[in-house]
């Protein structure tokens, strides 16, 4: 098993009984939307730090472990640093700090929602929200399943990428993109077909 593949998006959910764990999924998602919109609309340095303080308070209330926080937010930190560097060069230091803080705040808020909401709870919510659209032919269970598969497929695909790269290196073809990309694409398609068979066999999507 390739290192780190299992940490992509998965394992961020932390079972618990904090106030944020007990809040309905809808409330958390709407709150995340309101916070995100506010961050975009209210443009000032004090406001940015106030939003960051709110996000940190939520992290503390949800008792998100530091390791989880780091694992989930490190890629966003890289992106935020890149954006901030660009803005520093283009608009100056104040704007760069504001953008960096805003992006970190958004990442923290998203991690809080993910860490306090299981994927199944999110699926149940998606099924409920899409319920009224059944009359126009939407199948909420299938939409929810598509979400679950999208989340679940990512770490598996990363593992396949690592395995295929290692196989290419073992044959001394590490520098040949075709020796890596062709088998990788074939394996991803094969894995998708196997997963389809497995879902079919489990009767998932029959409803």
């Amino acid at each position: 098993m390739s290192q780190g593949s299992g940490s992509v998006l998965v394992g961020i959910y932390q079972p618990g009984t904090t106030l944020l764990h007990r809040l309905p999924v809808g409330v958390k998602v709407v709150a995340l939307g309101v916070l995100s919109l506010s961050i975009v609309l209210v443009r000032s340095m004090p406001a940015s730090f106030a939003f960051l303080a709110v996000a940190l308070l939520l992290v503390s209330v949800a008792r998100v472990r530091l390791r989880t926080l780091w694992r989930a937010a490190r890629s966003i930190l890289l992106l935020a640093a890149f954006v901030a560097a660009f803005q520093w060069w283009w608009y100056g230091g104040a704007k760069a700090i504001e953008s960096f803080v805003d992006l970190v705040t958004l990442a923290l808020a998203a991690v809080v929602v993910t860490a306090t909401t299981s994927v199944n709870a999110m699926l149940d919510a998606v099924v409920r929200w899409l319920g009224p659209f059944r009359r126009i032919g939407v199948k909420p269970e299938r939409v929810a399943l598509a979400f679950a598969l999208a989340i679940g497929a990512l770490p598996g695909t990363v593992t396949l990428a690592h395995e295929t790269r290692d196989a290419a290196r073992a044959r001394g073809l590490g520098r040949h993109p075709r020796a890596y990309l062709s088998p990788f694409v074939i394996r991803v398609v094969a894995r998708a077909m196997e997963t389809g068979d497995a879902l079919h066999a489990r009767g998932i999507g029959d409803d």
């Binding site: 098993m1 679950a148 598969l149 196997e194 079919h200 489990r202």
Partner: protein, 233 residues
Amino acid sequence: MPRIEFDRAGVVVPLPGDGGSRVVLEPTTLELTEHRIGVIGANGSGKSTLARMLNGLVLATTGSVRVDGLDVRRDAAAVRRTVGFCFTDPAAQLVMPTCVEDIELSLRRQEKSPSRRRELALAVLDENGLLEHAHDSVHSLSGGQKQMLALAGVLAVRPSLVVADEPTTLLDLANTRRVGDLLFDLEQQLMLVTHDLDLARRCDRVLVVADARVTFDGDADEAVEHYVTSVSA
């Protein structure tokens, strides 16, 4: 035990390009009521096709297949509730981030209450010795644990027949024994496709498949002997 009936059931698949076709399984007639049924044979012989026909993953192009009176083609959804299927590679079967969530996915159709579903899923994990991994990522498990979890997901919905297609091929000796013991302790009917002749010998009836045909059908020891002799010849 459910009654498995193959009535001249065969599979022919078209070949790409020249309009030709290939026989994957010759028309086969069988009636299987034993508790544990083994299927052995070489790679590409047609044994997985035979197993996959039991829950509609492969549909017969001639004849019909029935499980417990249900026609696999006509009563597809009911058949899938009756027949649980376990694949060789568990990684393809585990689609949710954590162990407990993957079991919950299996239970979604029969239990609508999220809290009750969680209770049931934890109980299933406990029964299969995986409770301590309930909230672990499915990708962090060992190969043996993944196969046990995949089996637990199948057994969670209490199928009457469990079909396992080479479930121990990717496992080490200890995990092969663990998965084998789990399968042979099941109350449900079992169809086990395997290359492990020790496991095959534990079955009540064994089919040997070669060149898209069932070439032997009967006692486990005799079937293994027949297979070994045919390979050596």
